[in-house]
Symmetry: C2
Subunit: 486 residues, 2 copies
Amino acid sequence: MSECFEITYKDAFGRIGKLDTLHGTVETPTLMPVINPNVVLVTPEEMRRVGAAMLMTNAYIIYRNSRLRDAALSDGIHALLRFDGPIMTDSGAFQLSRYGTVEFNSGEIVEFQRDIGADIGTPIDIPTRPDAPREQALTELQITCERIQEAVRCCGTDMLVAAPIQGSTHPDLRERYARIVSQLNADVYPIGAVVPLMESYRYTDLIKIIAASKLGLELNGPVHLFGAGHPMMFALAVALGCDLFDSAAYALYARDGRYLTANGTYKINNLAYLPCSCPVCSAGERRLTERELAQHNLWVSFAEINTIKQAIVDGMLWELVERRCRHPSLLQALRAAQKSFASFELIEPQASSFLYTSTESCARPQVRRFIRRLTNLELEGRILFTTDKQRTQHMEQRFDMTMLMKPPFGPYPLELAETAPIGQSEVANKDQTSIKSALRNLTELIICSNIDATFVYDSQWEHEDLAQLRLYATLVRLDDCYDTTV
Amino acid sequence: MSECFEITYKDAFGRIGKLDTLHGTVETPTLMPVINPNVVLVTPEEMRRVGAAMLMTNAYIIYRNSRLRDAALSDGIHALLRFDGPIMTDSGAFQLSRYGTVEFNSGEIVEFQRDIGADIGTPIDIPTRPDAPREQALTELQITCERIQEAVRCCGTDMLVAAPIQGSTHPDLRERYARIVSQLNADVYPIGAVVPLMESYRYTDLIKIIAASKLGLELNGPVHLFGAGHPMMFALAVALGCDLFDSAAYALYARDGRYLTANGTYKINNLAYLPCSCPVCSAGERRLTERELAQHNLWVSFAEINTIKQAIVDGMLWELVERRCRHPSLLQALRAAQKSFASFELIEPQASSFLYTSTESCARPQVRRFIRRLTNLELEGRILFTTDKQRTQHMEQRFDMTMLMKPPFGPYPLELAETAPIGQSEVANKDQTSIKSALRNLTELIICSNIDATFVYDSQWEHEDLAQLRLYATLVRLDDCYDTTV
C-alpha cells in the first residue's frame, strides 16, 4: 500500500490525489514534462509557469556524461535542473528498448538516482515490446521484478521507487505481475512499454493493458502511464485510473513541427489559423518557432489537465471522456474501455449527474449499476411498466405497482423520479441505442425479481429487442391498451 | 445578390468569406463583440487584440443619449468607439422586444445610423417572439419588410443594410420571407429573435429556423445569427451557413459570474481549476474579476472561431460539429439539423476526408451522397456484394461484378477503394448504426439500379434491417456460402 499517495476526489475510475515527495506534495493527475539536460528547449522555470509541478529527467543520460554526472553528484539533480519541486528520474530503460543494450546495471543506476537526490527513482526495467512472445515477456518480467526488489531494498528509504508494470500485450501477464509488484513495497506504478502502441494508434490495446494492470494493482497506488504525453488521451487514461503522465511529446512534436490539441495533432505548416488562445498563440504571430511550438504544446497539455481535474470535481469525467474520444481510434478505444472496465463497475463512485453525450453514454457504468440497485427494491406481484403514465393511468389499479421508463436507464418507480441519476439526468431524444439499453435493463430487472410484468410501450419504442423481452413479460402497444384484456 | 460578400472556402454548408465594408474587409465567420458605449468593460483596442475585426453597437442607445448622439454625429461612430474597423449598428429592436415599445420610428434611426457612419445599419425590425400566433408573425413580418425596403431606399447607397429575417417559430414563414427579403437589395441577413430560444436551450427549434431561413435566402448572402454569442454553438451554426455572430454574451455572462467554454458554461465560483490557457487564465490568478472574466469569454470565443475556420480549410467541419454537439440539447439539435439539411445535400461541397466520430457521423450528407453517386455506375446483371472478399473469392466468377461493403457508406467497387471518401475515411469498429447505414445504402443502390444482387455477410452484420433487404436481394451468411447454390 502506497503511503505517499492520498486520494481526495474520485469520479469514474479516476481521481484527484496528493503525492508526497521530499520536495513537496504534488496534486495528481499531472503531467511531468521531460527535460533533457543536454538540450533545454523550455526552461524549468517556464514550465513552472505553464503549470508543471513536477519534472522528469533521464538519470541514464546524466550518468553517461561525466560533466553532468559530477555536477549532479556534487550539487544534486535539483540544482542541476534549477527546479526545486519534485523530480522523477528514468533509468535508461527507454534507451534499452531503442538500442537493445545499456552500459550499466540497474543497481548502479538506482543508487546514482538516490545519490543525486531524485524524488522518484526507477530501476532499469525491461520494456518488452508489443506482441512479443509470451515466454519472452515472462522472462523479462521476472528480471524487472528482481530489479524492483533490489531498488526498494537498496534505496527505498531514501527515495520513492517506481515499479514498472510490463508484460507486453498479454493482459493476463500484466494483471498477474501487477499483483506481484504491488507487494514489493514500491511507491509509484508506471505502466511501461506503451509508447509503440500509442505511436501506431493502437489505443484499444493500450486500454486493455491499462485495465489489466489496474485490476492487478491496489486501488490506492499512484499509476503512471509511462511515455504518454499527448493531451488527447489524458482524459480517457485518467478515467481508467492513471494519475501521472510524462511528456517528452511537447518537445518531440515541436521538433517535427506538430501542434498538439486536446482533440488531436495539426502540422503547423498546414495551419492557416491558430485554434488556441494560449499566451504563445495569442501573441499575434502566425509562424511559431520550435521553442514556441513546444511552449504551446505544454500550455494545451496543462489546460487539459485542469479540464480533467475540474471534471472530476464536478462528477463529469465520463462526459469529458466521451467528448474527447472522437477520433476513430480513440472512439474504438473508449468502446473497448467500456467493456474492459465493466467489472470495475461496483467500485466506481456514485456520480451525481448524467449528461447524455452520445450513444457511448449508454455504456457508462452508471447505467448498468442503476438497474443493479433497483433489484434491491422489494418487487413482487403484477408490475406495470409504461412509457406513458398518463395514457395508462386507467390500467394502474389492476397492478401492484407502476414503473416508468427512461432511456438509457430503463424502469424506475415514480418515487425515484427526483433522485440521481434519473432526476439529475439530461438526455437527448431517445435513439436506438438508448432504447436498447433501457430494454436490456428492463429485462434484467424482470428476470432478477421474478415478477409478473406487463410492458406498455408507444411506437417510438419499437425495437428488435422487444422480441426477447416477450419471453419474460406481456407486451402491449400503447395504442392497443384500451381494448386489451390485461 | 450580395455584392459585398465573396466566399473563398466551403465545407458542409459553412464557408469562409470576405465581407467588404467602407472600413475594410472582414473575414467570416467572425464574431462582433457588442460594445455598450455607456459601459465599456473591455476596450475596442483590447478586443482587437483578442481577434475582433468588427464590432457591433446599439444606435438606439446612442441616439437616446444627447451627449453620445452629438458626439457620434459630429465625429462619427468610429471616433466615438475609438475603433477604425467596421462597425455594425443595431436599431432598438432588442429594446422593442424587451419593453414592447421604442421612442423613434425606423426611418429616423436608420438615417441616424447612416449619419454617424455605421458600416452596416439595421432598421427597427419586429422581433416576433417564439410560439407567437401565425397571424401575428405574418403581420409583423410585413412591417419588417416595409422597414427594410425603406432603409435600402433611403440609405442603401451609403451603408450596408441588414435585412432581418423574422417569422417566430414558423419555419414556412421564415422561408417564405427569406425569399422575399432576398429580393430587397439589402446586404446582410440577420436571423432574428432567436435569443429566447437559446436562453431556454431550444436549439432544435433554432436549427429549424436556420434551415428554413437558409432555404429561402440566396446561398451567397452573408447570414448573421443575431444575438448568438455562446461559442458552444458557433460550429453548428457555421456548418449550417451562418457567417456572423454578435456577442453581448461575453459581458452579460461575466456579469453573472459565468465562464464560457466551447463545450458549455461554468459558474466561476464552482471552478476549482481554470480549464483554459488564455492570457487571463494563464496569469496564475484563481479569482477573476468581472472584467477578466469578460476577457476570457472573448478569448475562448475567438479561439473557437479560429478552430472553425481551420476546420473549414481542412474539410473537417462536420467532424468538429460532431465533437462540439455533445450537450444533450445540442446533440438533439445536431440530429435535427441532419434531418433538416438533408435537402441541401447536393449543394454541399465534396469533403476530402471522413473521420467517424460517433453514430451521428452516419447521417452526414457525405454518406447519403456517396450512394447517389454510385447509382451513376453502369450496374447490370448479377452483382455480388460481400463483407469478406477473400472468403467469397471462389464465388466471383459466377457474377458480373463484385462490390465490397464499408460501414457507414455501404457498397463500393474495388476500383473506388483508394478514392474519397472510401480511401480517405477512418472509421471505428462497426456499430449497429453504421451497419444500418451501410445496409440502407446497399438497399437503395439495388433498388435504383434494378440488378440481380446477392449479399454475402459475416455474423457482425446481423441486423434487423436484413429482413427488408431480403425483399430485393439474395442473402447468404458467409459461413453458409460454401454449400450454397447461388
